[in-house]
């Protein structure tokens, strides 16, 4: 119990080093990231819950195999999200599938973020807005969808998004602007008024 408590106090980066010594300690890392990475996979993909869990298993095994490649200049979370992103893309390529729908989990804070950043009026009924966002995001190209998900749903900084997607920060800023534009255009295409 005491040992368990000690591990709770450890940072992700410290746990990653400990996991190199014993695989049991990798369990703590997995427990910390299971829900976050599963949500991320579901947000950027069209996978079913079961399929997303399969991808997540592969992600954890990849993280474990590559623990020695973890760059200490990065946050462990950025590195884990990067591996997850790559695994989702690789899964898409294998399946040659295009996402059709998104089981998004959008809370009020995310709604507020999105509406202020996308210059959308705030006086909209939340339920309607959530549905509209899901529909629009599902139709966006994955390169736009993932930056919007990372920025507004995962609430990652530009630096973190840059580390996750392995693109310069300037490119991330451009991508986010384009993604916002695409988002608004998709709203118009689908005749969604918000």
């Amino acid at each position: 119990m005491t040992e368990n408590k000690n591990f709770l106090e450890k940072t992700d980066e410290e746990l990653a080093v400990l996991a190199l010594g014993s695989k049991d300690y990798f369990l703590y890392l997995m427990r910390r990231y299971e829900a976050k990475l599963l949500a991320y996979i579901l947000r950027i993909s069209s996978f079913s819950h079961d399929e997303a869990e399969d991808v997540l298993q592969e992600v954890f095994i990849k993280i474990y195999k590559n623990l020695n490649d973890f760059d200490k200049n990065l946050k462990f979370s950025s590195w884990a999200y990067r591996i997850t992103h790559n695994q989702v893309i690789s899964h898409y390529r294998k399946a040659k599938a295009r996402p059709q729908s998104l089981p998004l989990d959008i809370n009020d804070k995310i709604l507020a973020n999105l509406s202020s950043d996308l210059d959308i009026e705030k006086e909209i009924e939340a339920g309607y807005f959530k549905k509209a966002i899901k529909k629009v995001l599902a139709n966006l190209d994955i390169k736009y969808r993932e930056v919007l998900v990372l920025k507004f749903l995962e609430e990652r900084s530009y630096k973190e998004i840059s580390d996750i997607l392995k693109k310069p920060m300037g490119t991330i800023a451009t991508l986010i602007n384009r993604a916002k534009k695409e988002f608004r255009e998709e709203l118009d295409r689908q005749k969604i008024k918000i």
Partner: protein, 254 residues
Amino acid sequence: MEKKSNEISNGASDLVKEVLEKIKEKHIKPKPKWEFILEEYIIWIFAGASFLVGSLAVAVIIHMVRNNDWDLHDRVSGNLVSFIFATLPYFWLLILSAFIALAYYNFKHTKSGYRFSLRLLVISSILASVFLGVFFYSVGFGWTIDRMFSVRLPFYDRLIFHRRLIWDNPERGMMAGRIISDLGEGNFKLRDLDNKIWMMHGQISSTTPWPSAGQEIIKIIGEPMDNFNFQVRELRSWPGCGWPAPVNCPMLFP
């Protein structure tokens, strides 16, 4: 250890337990650090080598531009602009572009390469190649490489096509070729770039350094006397610093 493992996995989800089981069953282990270090080193070595070749290309470009027989541009083409376009070292510019692209590609694949934009990487690669290229030129690498390629690679002179364009011009008083035999008193037999044999009539003093017969291509400025005889006024080396080579023309590949 088994007991400890069970304690740790208490409260973990099925997915997490399953992953841990898989790791144990399949004896999956983290890849050793040296593999990642080696991979990173190899990428850096390729990036560095590409940058180095790019810099050497810059040295050759500087050498070619500086020794472009600018004084003859009137004879070759009507105006300076068309002369410049006709004599740009396209082959080496292509090599430079290819190796800058390779350096960029390799650098981009290093661990931190993704943080830099395409524009920043390309501009800094060009600037760094130019700086190192100027240094390589100043120690004679430009001349050495151009000459080495010209002597050892038969197709090279076809790639540097402007030299042939300029120096396969006996009617304009410009020719190039190899001396077949030295007849003395500045007279010699020459096989030109089209394999045609010429009798060359010179006024070169016997103290002037003289290229050996058959060794290398030389450039000749003068006037054609008829279809087989040519009056020689000046000899230059190919690729040249002039003939004889001036003191500031480095001879690293004599």
